[in-house]
Amino acid sequence: MEHVVIVGNGIAGVTAARHIRKNSDKKITIISAESDHFFSRTALMYVYMGHMRFKDLKPYEDQFWSKNNINLKNAFVERVDTDTQTLHLAQGETITYDTLILATGSIPAKYGWEGQDLNGVQGLVSKQDLELLEKNAPNNEVCPKAVIVGGGLIGVELAEMLHTRKIEVTMLVREHAFWSGVLPDGEAEMISRHIKNHGIDLRCGAELDKILDDGRGNVSGIITKKGEQIDCKLVGVTTGVKPQIEFLKDSKIETDRGILVNRMLETNIKNVYAIGDCAQQREAIGLRKPVEAVWYTGRMMGETVAQTICGKPFEYNPGNWFNSAKFFDIEYQTYGWVFSTKNKKDYEQHLHWKHPDDTKCMTIAFHKDTREFLGINSFGIRLRHEVLDRWLNEKRDVRYVIKNLKEANFNPEFYRRYESEIQKEFKV
């Protein structure tokens, strides 16, 4: 029987396994050194904040895997030999495969700062990172003060987490506002104010120079590029993530930043696929980045590769871009493409509405000349995926979108509606 081995039990690998099982009775083995069972990485923050227990993060009951005849192996893959189709595990064990799916995810990206390997310097990607955080910052006596370097989605999550344990947090953000490389300025500035309102010392235009050693190998503080010193016991590194591909360096599998794959998600080696955060498209798909470290894209690649492996080849051809996040109390959803002020395409025009309470806003992007609706960012107002996806597929005129915005509202019942205010503001 064909043996499909999946390295990595995150959303990409597990989705692939589930769909392969649905379509076939191939032997499936998932290998992970991180955890025995699949858990929701995006929810790690809630364990530290006390909203959930770690076991609540597991989307499937433990019996699910044996019931579906999916073998789980807790082991670290050290080396891949594609000639003999063998995986060499850390304990000296080997596993052979017929089909290999690499879904190893990401690790925090560090940029060679002095002191970046001291105790107390960490990212927040894996279960082990969370366990480390419980050691480094269990409470505000052990860790009265923390500095977070980088202002992405993980950065703001880490700030929120530490804040719940009453640990003082300074965030260093290189841009002029939080996440302004991704969000249009109006939004980035609103979220920046929201972060500050929660008592986070958000410093924009600030960069890390080096991390200071207390003489015993622990963090004692940092120095910014402007020469300012900030004492702290924890340095959260959230300057993005990079594909976890270290174990492939001696293999014949071709890599760049990530594992290079074609549209079929195949690597240069036959019967070896890569999906999720660790995969890098040889040519970017549409306006997407070659490496997409997002939950949903990992899932979609898993859905796609499973069909291919089960004899119905499909290219990875994702639909309209969408994403979501939550910044403290403000939810964010995006559908289609809305680029930041800095990265805006020359044909792209924005309509921006903000509620006076400074917790809700919306940006609609459209084509300057054709008035085609390109995308929408919404903060504090939930939108209906199905409706926006349809409008994007139908290439609707932006005026149509504004006029029918009510149809896309997904807020809970009885919530105040803002469509008429938005429509008043958006006279196109």
Partner: protein, 529 residues
């Protein structure tokens, strides 16, 4: 059993302690409880109205001050920080103390009311006597243990209701829903029945009737003494009796069709009201395993069968055999019930074949038991059912379900099993509404395309133990019999994935293999297979 999270190697203590204002609130609440406790130990307070006011005021004020301390300085938003770290909300020491104290209170309330000061002869003493002035003010009669319980129950719903509204002040659905349960508890469960009692005289006697307490939750509604009271109270009484019948056979199906069972379970019902307010801090303790779900389906539907058989048996005991005296004889009644159930079941079998797949067997078993029981009544002489007297059946139901299940376990064990144990495993009303919701309703929780990240907040905070995530991560709408529509899954979702709504009845579930956002061709190919 300590289930406080230890599996993430917590080396330190996260801030789980309470602040100064919360301590003040706690102290005030304890003063109120202490006065009640002293009264229960027969301390005879001289100025009863004053001391009762102080006691109840301290309880109410204590909860409000605690709430102020907890939420006043915080931003609008989800307030679940430290839920699994706090002793009281993570089955720690405080939770067990609270659970055992509540359980003890229920046992005394149901079975040893004398200890609270209820005297068969002579005036009330002790705790119940302390409540006499308030009872006299409302109904003109001295208090009973049920009046004491009702008063404390109402205060709990009001004070914790304010706490809940404060906690979810950003969420209008939660605010309105909570105002609704506060209103129905205060007006319908507490005040109106007391005022109705004022109307009673020697030749006019309405039974104590909480209008929103519908059979079969109100399992004794059609007992002989009540029916006699209703009929003897003229048009008003008859109207109430008819309202009681219409409630379950007409009003309930219509409202459940339009809005789902939430219109009752989380907007009107008193049990639900207490669970949603005082029980809110324990909602995450419900068991989400598929095993628990299986137990739930068996137990709650068995209770439903039990209550139908019991009520039929009890009603048939006081109906006569002589059709000349009154058209509704025992035989007519029993045949009527059998025909009604047969038609109902045949209708479901015929029109809802698709939905029934997995649940059909359970329904069939329940139906069979009922019909067998009915024939048992019919062919047995006198008032026995399989040689068990109907009264025994009624008493065992009252003891097992009415007292032990709904009170002692259902509420007493809030801090251990979660706040909806009764509603989920025991309530026959919830079972009926659940069947309607599953089969004949426009209500569903819509999953927002492919936006779910499987974080598990929804499942964790579902008080009914529904694994909401299991549906959301498949892009499938949630149409579960047990969902009471509290809306918390939607509130705690960090990605805006869930929305409670009433919509077209077809395509309510909308299951698909590949989620929205992927390749259109792939979605078509796989979802059509």
């Amino acid at each position: 059993m300590s289930t406080i999270q230890r599996d993430m190697s917590l080396t330190g203590q996260p801030p789980a302690s309470i602040n100064a204002i919360q301590k003040l609130g706690t102290a005030l609440g304890v003063v109120g409880l202490l006065i009640l406790l002293l009264a229960a130990f027969n301390i005879n307070f001289p100025e009863k109205p004053l001391w009762l006011s102080i006691a109840l005021g301290s309880l109410f004020g204590g909860i409000l001050i605690f709430t102020y301390g907890a939420y006043s300085g915080k931003h609008e938003g989800i307030k679940n920080d430290g839920v699994w770290f706090k002793s009281v909300s993570s089955r720690g020491f405080l939770a067990w103390v609270a659970g055992l104290a509540l359980t003890g209170f229920y046992i005394i309330l149901y079975f040893k009311a004398g200890w609270l000061g209820l005297n068969t002869e002579g005036d009330n003493t002790g705790l119940i006597a302390l409540f006499d002035p308030l009872s006299r003010l409302l109904s003109g009669n001295p208090a009973s243990q049920w009046f004491v319980y009702g008063t404390l129950y109402t205060i709990a719903i009001l004070a914790f209701g304010i706490k809940f509204i404060w906690k979810y002040r950003h969420n209008r659905y939660e605010r309105l829903r909570t105002l609704s349960v506060m209103f129905f508890q205060t007006a319908f469960a507490f005040l109106i029945p007391e005022f109705m009692a004022r109307l009673n005289s020697e030749n006019f006697n309405l039974p104590y009737y909480d209008l929103k307490n519908i059979w079969p939750l109100n399992y004794y509604n059609f007992e002989q003494y009540r029916v006699n009271d209703f009929i003897s109270a003229g048009n008003v009484g008859l109207a109430l009796l008819l309202f009681g019948i219409a409630s379950i056979f007409v009003i309930t199906p219509i409202l459940t069709y339009k809005y789902g069972k939430r219109w009752y379970c989380s907007w009107v019902c008193g049990c639900g009201g207490l669970a949603e307010t005082a029980g809110d801090s324990f909602r995450h303790l419900s068991d989400k395993s598929t095993f628990a779900w299986k137990v739930e389906r068996w137990v709650v539907h068995s209770v439903l069968v039990f209550v139908v058989v019991m009520t039929t048996a009890v009603v048939s005991t006081y109906l006569g055999y002589d059709a000349d005296k009154y058209w509704l004889t025992k035989d007519v009644f029993l045949i009527g019930v059998a025909v009604f159930l047969t038609l109902l079941f045949a209708g479901i079998w015929f029109f809802k074949k698709e939905e029934l797949k997995q649940d059909a067997r359970y329904g069939a078993i329940g139906y069979l038991v009922i019909v067998l029981a009915l024939s048992g009544i019919h062919y047995s002489s006198g008032s026995t059912l399989f040689l068990i007297p109907a009264e025994t059946l009624r008493d065992s139901y009252g003891f097992l379900i009415g007292s032990i299940f709904s009170g002692v376990i259902g509420t007493g064990f809030y801090p251990i099993f979660g706040n909806r144990v009764w509603c989920r495993f025991g309530c026959p009303m919830a079972a009926i509404l659940g069947l309607q919701q599953r089969l004949f309703s426009k209500f569903r929780i819509t999953t927002n395309g492919g936006q779910c990240i499987s974080c598990g907040n929804c499942s964790s905070y579902c008080e009914m133990g529904i694994d909401v995530r299991a549906y959301a991560q498949k892009g499938e709408n949630i149409v579960r019999a047990s969902c009471v529509g509290c809306g918390i899954c939607s509130a705690v979702c960090p990605r805006g994935v869930l929305k409670l709504e009433n919509g077209a009845a077809d395509k309510r579930i909308n299951s698909r293999e590949i989620l929205l956002g992927n390749d259109v061709d792939l979605m078509d190919y796989v979802n059509q297979n």
